[in-house]
């Protein structure tokens, strides 16, 4: 274990209330650089809400979210930043539980749009682009190169000019990950990337995520119900139940934690657990 890896994201006392409903209650954890941190929990536990706080879609009621990007001395306080700035300046990219691609645009366009800010600068806020200056043409070619790299990685090069909405479901999931990666983030947040994938696709996904962690050296935050994914690739697991953290640790530690098993199976307090369940978490159906 590389527990000594420097922290990338530090969440302290995060609380999110919607009126009377406490969706997240005093959550603290650390996601480290070059690690995959999984957030798991039953339906409605507040996992997506954590992502929404992190990426500026919600303003947390209480708490501090500190991002310390590598090779950059400073740090960002995410809870104070506007949504788009978190992606643009802090380098946090995300995918969505219900896929949000630009369905009418082509696959390649989806990946080029993700490089908006770099291209915008290169086109001098459209002036150089309108004049057709070299500087913009070069930047656009680079953008296509990056897109092509990711297309190869997710095996969609042949469908580059298709409308993104016409792709099969599994490909759409992968495209959304590639699109997030095209923003060149330092933290990638994936909300149930394996939902709706068949076992073969899900194995491919594992490989892709491990590659992203290994080759691109970024941190990953992963929400997932599919335990085969979580247990195989995550370095660190945080378990939420009804908005409160109930366990944290390596996949092995967490899967044997009685509190976690209780949360998943709803067993009553003190009830003896059946031995086959106590050995590890079952694979929860994706929702």
């Amino acid at each position: 274990m590389t527990a000594a890896a420097p922290p990338l994201l530090t969440v302290e006392h995060l609380t999110m209330r919607f009126g009377g409903l406490v969706a997240i209650n005093d959550l603290s954890f650390t996601a480290r650089q070059r690690q995959i941190t999984a957030i798991i929990g039953p339906n409605g536990a507040g996992k997506t809400t954590v992502f929404n706080c992190l990426t500026g879609f919600y303003k947390p009621s209480v708490g501090r979210l500190t991002l310390t990007p590598p090779n950059n001395g400073g740090c960002f306080l995410l809870e104070r930043m506007e949504g788009f700035r978190i992606a643009k300046d802090a380098g946090v990219a995300r995918t969505f539980q219900n896929i949000r691609l630009f369905a009418g645009m082509s696959v390649l366009e989806n990946l080029v749009v993700a490089q908006h800010n770099r291209l915008m600068r290169a086109s001098a806020y459209s002036v150089a682009g309108l004049l057709g200056l070299n500087r913009y043409t070069r930047a656009e070619r680079q953008a296509v190169e990056l897109a092509r790299y990711w297309l190869d990685r997710i095996e969609l090069t042949g469908q580059a000019d298709w409308a993104a909405g016409n792709l099969p479901y599994g490909s759409q999931r992968r495209l959304e990950i590639a699109r997030a990666m095209c923003t060149e983030p330092c933290l990638l947040c994936l909300d149930e990337p394996a939902a709706g994938l068949n076992p073969r696709e899900s194995a491919q996904l594992n490989e892709l995520l491990l590659d992203i962690r290994g080759q691109h050296g970024i941190g990953l935050l992963l929400i997932e119900h599919d335990m085969s994914v979580v247990m195989q690739i995550s370095d660190h697991v945080v378990v939420l139940d009804h908005g409160a953290p109930i366990a944290e640790g390596t996949p092995d530690m967490v899967s044997n934690d009685p509190a976690v098993i209780r949360a998943y199976l709803g067993a009553a307090e003190g009830e003896a657990l059946p031995p086959d369940v106590a050995g590890g978490l079952p694979t929860a159906p994706p929702c």
Partner: protein, 426 residues
């Protein structure tokens, strides 16, 4: 099917009751109420039969209709040469039109009007077609452009070409001004607020008498000159156009000149849109139309992106407005009513959101044909409405709905062929 037709007939009867059922008759004893319940019956029967016929037709042509009912904007499979060719042919036809033997003054004048609407359609297309912001008050920017030119030229005596950029910039400022309050709104709400904005501008023009001369409008607006040469029979102390070129004077010269001015302005709008569509800002507009949340998660500033769409769309309306003012020589708030916004929006929607050639076709259909078919008299608008309904049944996504991707991997492999040639097409 029967039930559906019956329901439609009942609704028709209910609607017709107050509209057709009663009639005030003028008689010796004063006003009296006539009852015409038979008419209500006819209306209901007509709707019943029509609805039944439509259901049968839909069943018979179900294949035709179903094929069109796609949820996605279809993406053109391969670069469409046809559209480029059609585009260039249209440009050539437009350039040569004044030379054609059948081109009389009337025709050129109508074509000029048509081109104004084409230009407005192309301008609004930036806002509605690309950025997906439903704007029902577009005519406000047209009005701002027209009044800016009229007032600038009357107060400071500036020429048309000097005023044009001012008018465009002023309209763009109004675009941003409108953009700010509506940033958070979408769809129907946005449409309502923009509609209100359009009306506000018109009402201000109507009531700010000291500046705009209120409902009487501004007359005697300076006509454009050909690089300083006026189109007049004689101008004391100045050389006129016909004297300079040694031509006989003819009022048609100015008409043709105006036609070419608006052609150039419209083509410039088109070229600008085609280019900016391939730039990051253009792609961001389309992405914003598809999914604003995803845009934000990719670090695209939605505020700035929306405002730029509003501003640029408004700018072209401002240009078109100045041209309108110089062509008419007279403007009043009458020219900038809601119906204008509605027509421009109809052109964009009917053309197939985002398609440049589609907008030209739609403008010909919506503005050109009613002008030329004035002989139909009171049935003109009926035919117009009927045509709209038919087109929307036949092509619910507009005339040319398939969208050309702004960038292709396949073409890119051939070392990014220069795109300037043929860019005016599509």
């Amino acid at each position: 099917m029967l039930k559906d037709a019956l329901a439609a007939a009942v609704v028709a009867a209910l609607l017709a009751l107050p509209l057709l059922g009663f009639r005030l008759a003028d008689s010796q004893q004063g006003l009296s109420l006539d009852y015409r319940f038979a008419w209500v019956g006819y209306a209901a029967a007509a709707v019943f039969i029509g609805r039944l016929g439509m259901a049968f037709a839909a069943a018979a042509f179900s294949r035709v209709f179903q094929r069109k009912r796609q949820t996605l904007l279809p993406l053109a499979g391969r670069p469409s040469r046809n559209r480029k060719i059609v585009g260039w042919l249209l440009v050539a036809a437009a350039l040569l039109l004044p030379l054609a033997p059948f081109a009389d003054r009337n025709l050129i004048d109508k074509a000029t009007l048509l081109l104004i609407y084409v230009m407005l359609g192309w301008g609004l297309n930036i806002v509605v077609g690309l950025a997906g912001l439903l704007d029902l008050g577009y005519v406000a920017f047209y009005a701002v452009g027209a009044y800016s030119y009229a007032l600038l030229s009357q107060t400071f005596g500036l020429s048309f070409w000097l005023c044009l950029p001012f008018a465009g910039a002023l309209a763009a400022c109004f675009g941003i001004l409108l953009g700010f309050p509506v940033l958070r709104l979408r769809g129907d709400y946005l449409a309502i607020v923009t509609l209100g904005f359009g009306e506000i501008v018109r009402v201000v023009l109507l009531n700010w008498e000291s500046l705009t001369n209120g409902p009487n409008g501004i007359s005697g607006i300076q006509r454009p000159s050909f690089f300083g040469l006026p189109f007049l029979a004689a101008a004391p102390g100045r050389t006129t156009f016909h004297e300079f070129f040694g031509l006989p004077f003819s009022p048609g010269q100015r008409i043709i000149f105006l036609y070419y001015v608006i052609l150039v302005l419209a083509l410039a709008t088109n070229l600008f849109t085609l280019r900016i569509r391939r730039l990051p800002i253009g792609r961001a507009w389309e992405a914003l139309r598809e999914d604003e949340t995803a845009c934000r998660s990719l670090g695209i500033n939605p505020t700035r992106t929306k405002l730029s769409a509003f501003a640029l769309g408004a700018m072209f309306a401002g240009f078109a407005g100045s041209f309108f003012a110089t062509r008419q020589g007279f403007i009043s708030p009458e020219s900038f009513t809601f119906i204008e916004s509605a027509i421009i929006l109809a052109i964009v929607v009917l053309g197939g959101m985002g398609s440049q050639i589609g907008i030209v076709l739609a403008a010909i259909l919506l503005v050109g044909l009613p002008e030329w078919f004035r002989d139909l008299q009171q049935y003109r608008m009926l035919a117009f409405g009927g045509a709209m309904v038919l087109i929307m049944l036949w092509r619910p996504r507009g005339l040319l709905a398939s969208r050309e991707p702004t960038i292709r991997l396949a073409a890119d492999a051939l070392e990014a062929a220069p795109q300037t040639a043929g860019e005016a097409a599509r």
